[in-house]
Amino acid sequence: MSVLLDVQNLGVSFDTPSGLVRAVSDVSFQISAGSTVAIVGESGSGKSVTAQAILGLLPRPASINSGEILFNDVESHGAEGAPIDIAKLDPRSEAFRQIRGNRISMIFQEPMTSLSPLHTIGDQISEALLLHRDADVAEAKALSIDMLEKVGFPDPVRAFDTYPFELSGGLRQRAMISMALVCRPALLIADEPSTALDVTIQAQILKLIKDMQQDLGMAVLMITHDLGVVANMADEVVVAYHGEIMERGSTKDIFSKPKHPYLKALLKAVPHFDMKDGERLVPLREIKHEAGTLLREYVGAKPKHGKAPILSVRNISKSFENRSHKGLFTSSAAIKPTLVVDDVSFDIKRGECLGLVGESGCGKTTLSKIIMRSINPDNGEVVFSDNGEDTDLLHLGDQAMIPIRQKIQYIFQDPFSSLNPRMTVHDLLSEPLAIHGIGDATYRREFVQELMNLVGLDPRWLNRYPHSFSGGQRQRVGIARSLALKPDLVLCDEPVSALDVSVQAQILNLLKDLQKDLGLTYLFISHNLAVVDYIADRIAVMCAGQIVEVAPREELFRNPMHPYTRALVAAVPYPDPNHPLDFAALKEEQASSPAHWPEPFGPLDDTTTPLLNCGKGHLIRAHKKPSSAGGPA
């Protein structure tokens, strides 16, 4: 196979006020026509900068200062021409613009922000055609609709005139892909194309990229930190660390015989389903942390673990009105409220970690907000049990709620927006104490220092502002803040999904240790099954506002019974080339819609499906116990 793109000794550096900073140095790799190469690495490894250099999209202070990028594409330089050295082209030049979006195109991580919210997706897709093909508007529209159909839009003609925010995350990414592929490029650069998506959607998008690759015969450069995605997609792997290439080779070799210590460490930092009980993740940089005396006191004062639930959620329902389905002239009477949380009940026992899994939009975050009383449900009750005293949180007045708020705390998903950038870490950590009037200034200062030690941060950093911390460090500040009030129950809403794999392992280990040391109870919400499998004792699977299956951790993933859980488990990419995703078995977005569930899980009639107990704490939503429990999906 001919080499399509040949990157030789590429060096990119950023011109910063403190001098030149090398982001990428001496990077070389080749991409053959029609093949897939993956660049793996954590953030800051230079993988995205490499991609930006290939497409001439480097931010202003960055420039290529050595090496060449040879693009050997017949359509770009004619049959006899020599390969074009992209590194020598002016990124603003007409010649480069002819390649960009035409012969090389790119898809990005976040499908919402990478599409303009003010223009219809049809407008944005056909734009590339109008630029690069001498197509008129009608032709461009026809070709775009054609492409929308290819990427799996159910109604491409209607989709042409929709705005990005009217689409689900998966469809948005499909729109993005059709935009990148509409000119039939020779090379597609995919920058974390599935990271922001749910597992089931991720599997579909990966399948789509593979299908389109075969269809159009293009090469793919995949940039990702997810080794599972790499194992399933790539022919060759390039491992980047600190702007340099650590190791490269065929996917099989890389996974079976990793040589470089960095790669070995990376493989150990990823949670996977085959972990033994009690096996710990090994983060690249372990953090040391300790609980001080003030915190130890609070552990001693806690009631012992018991069978009694600390939190009982009973029959919670919540619906929202949705205006997006409303046409310009429909009256408000036609709006149907959507049931976001539908009759959900579960218990969390003291000292356990209950994992709550489900795709975005299934109502898991709404549920956690209901428990925090930041949203009021339509009906149901949330009973919090404190030293044998049961309180229904939903019927407490705002004043009576204040002491309870000390017992339940929240860790947020986004470590960037959940910390006030104008407050120092000291202010952030002592604010909960100030709000609840706990201790005097000396006590607070001492306690805050202890909190910093608890999450493995240097207490000397207390006067810094959040922006001087990395994402993982910020998340640790967020964790410390949630522990400032010595809570019993901590709600963790996707606390690691915004973090790198290596940092993710750090945070997961920290959360695990804190739970053990301080006797905490977690409700751990995540869409990442492997993460939940690593940290949770029991797991509840949520779909379309309902809990469809609850089981102890080892039971759920080894023996999933509900079709939705099975679809979820089947869609998780394993970091192992010998264990590929079964793309053929993927059902198009049907697993998450109750109407498509087979007997006995689907709705027989209008009556609600009950949760049945199948023994060993395994609950499942079905009309009768499934006969084929344990069999393949």
């Binding site: 990005f108 990478s114 303009s116 003010l118 734009e127 009217e166 009105e321 009256s331």
Partner: protein, 332 residues
């Protein structure tokens, strides 16, 4: 949509009614009324005050009636287009305001257009060439404009306009056209006088506008969809206009509500200094002398412009931004 419009118009009327009550109360708040101010003025000039005449005037103007009665008389008059009677000018308010309203609209519209024409190109340039010499230089000039007191600049410009072009000092037209019917020559004279106040008032506005546009656009320029556009192979100019600039405009459309009343009432100080026949100084005078109906009419008119401006900008935003048109807040 129609339902929404009707609901909005209805709530606008309620708002205006509430404002009219407030305006009336605030004007009446200081002790005394126009006549007591008038008496004090006469006495300070050593003139005799004829008690009977005052009593007559008081009855004539309806000042002896109760507050609610006065209020309703005023409001019903307003609804029929009768703005009341100005004590100070001894004329119906309609006639007092007449030309001034038109001239101040001309002046302020010209100013707004001047501000937009100057600050848009500069703002876009500053944002796209952030931290370049051009950015710093233009920003500096903008700040100079913001920091220079308007009346000072006004005096300087008036002087040079007079020395170089022979334009008469002050006013919006040559003295011989005052109170004359409109002719081509009069309009020409207005145009010749207009540019000085436009530049004076405009310079202070451009700096703020440049900074705002620069900040808005800078925010947008770093968004991911701009990179997507570049990755598509769009040329920089096309990209800028189609995506980030379009997004950066929203705050300016939302600002129309504040702009409209400014068109009528803005620039009081400059107008006083340059003795411009606009409404600003007149409103100031009316408030000082408790010329109730004149001040009230002005304030109500400004309130109406604000409310209408808000309505216009809301409707425009709905039309221009699909996110506002198609999604709504979910009521929790």
């Amino acid at each position: 949509m129609l339902e929404y419009l009707i609901r909005r118009v209805f709530s606008m009327m309620l708002t205006l009614a509430a404002i009219s009550v407030l305006v009336f109360i605030i004007i009446q708040l200081p002790p005394g009324d126009y006549l007591s101010t008038y008496i004090a003025e006469l006495q300070s000039q050593g003139e005799m005050v004829d008690e009977e005449k005052i009593e007559f005037l008081r009855r004539q103007y309806g000042l002896d009636k109760s507050m609610p009665e006065q209020y309703f008389t005023w409001v019903f008059g307003l609804l029929q287009g009768d703005l009341g009677y100005s004590f100070e000018y001894n004329l119906p308010v309609n006639e007092v305001v007449g030309d001034r309203l038109f001239l101040s609209m001309v002046l302020n519209f010209a100013t707004i257009i001047f501000i937009y024409m100057v600050s848009f190109p500069i703002g876009v340039y500053s944002a796209t060439h952030q931290y370049s010499w051009g950015d710093h230089g233009l920003t500096l000039i903008g700040f100079l404009g913001l920091a220079t007191p308007n009346f000072l600049l006004a005096l300087v410009l008036l002087y040079f306009a007079n020395v170089w072009f022979g334009t008469s000092i002050g006013g919006l037209m040559d003295p011989q056209y005052l109170d004359q019917p409109w002719t081509i020559d009069k309009a020409w004279s207005v145009a010749a006088h207009l540019w000085v106040p436009v530049v004076v008032i405009g310079t202070s506005g451009t700096a703020g506008m440049i900074r705002r546009l620069r900040a808005n656009l800078l925010d947008e320029l770093h968004k991911q969809y701009v990179v997507t556009g570049r990755a598509k192979g769009l040329s920089p100019g096309k990209l800028l206009i189609k995506y980030p600039l379009r997004m950066a405009l929203n705050p300016f459309i939302a600002d129309i509500g504040n702009l409209l009343p400014q068109v009528v009432s803005g620039s009081v100080i400059v107008s006083s200094v340059m003795s411009l026949p606009t409404t600003g100084p007149m409103l100031l005078g009316a408030l000082q002398s408790q010329d109730m109906y004149l001040a009230g009419s002005f304030l109500i008119f400004l309130a109406m412009l604000t409310v209408v401006g808000m309505f216009v900008s809301d409707v425009l935003l709905t039309v221009l931004d699909p996110r506002i048109r198609l999604t709504g807040s979910t009521r929790a």
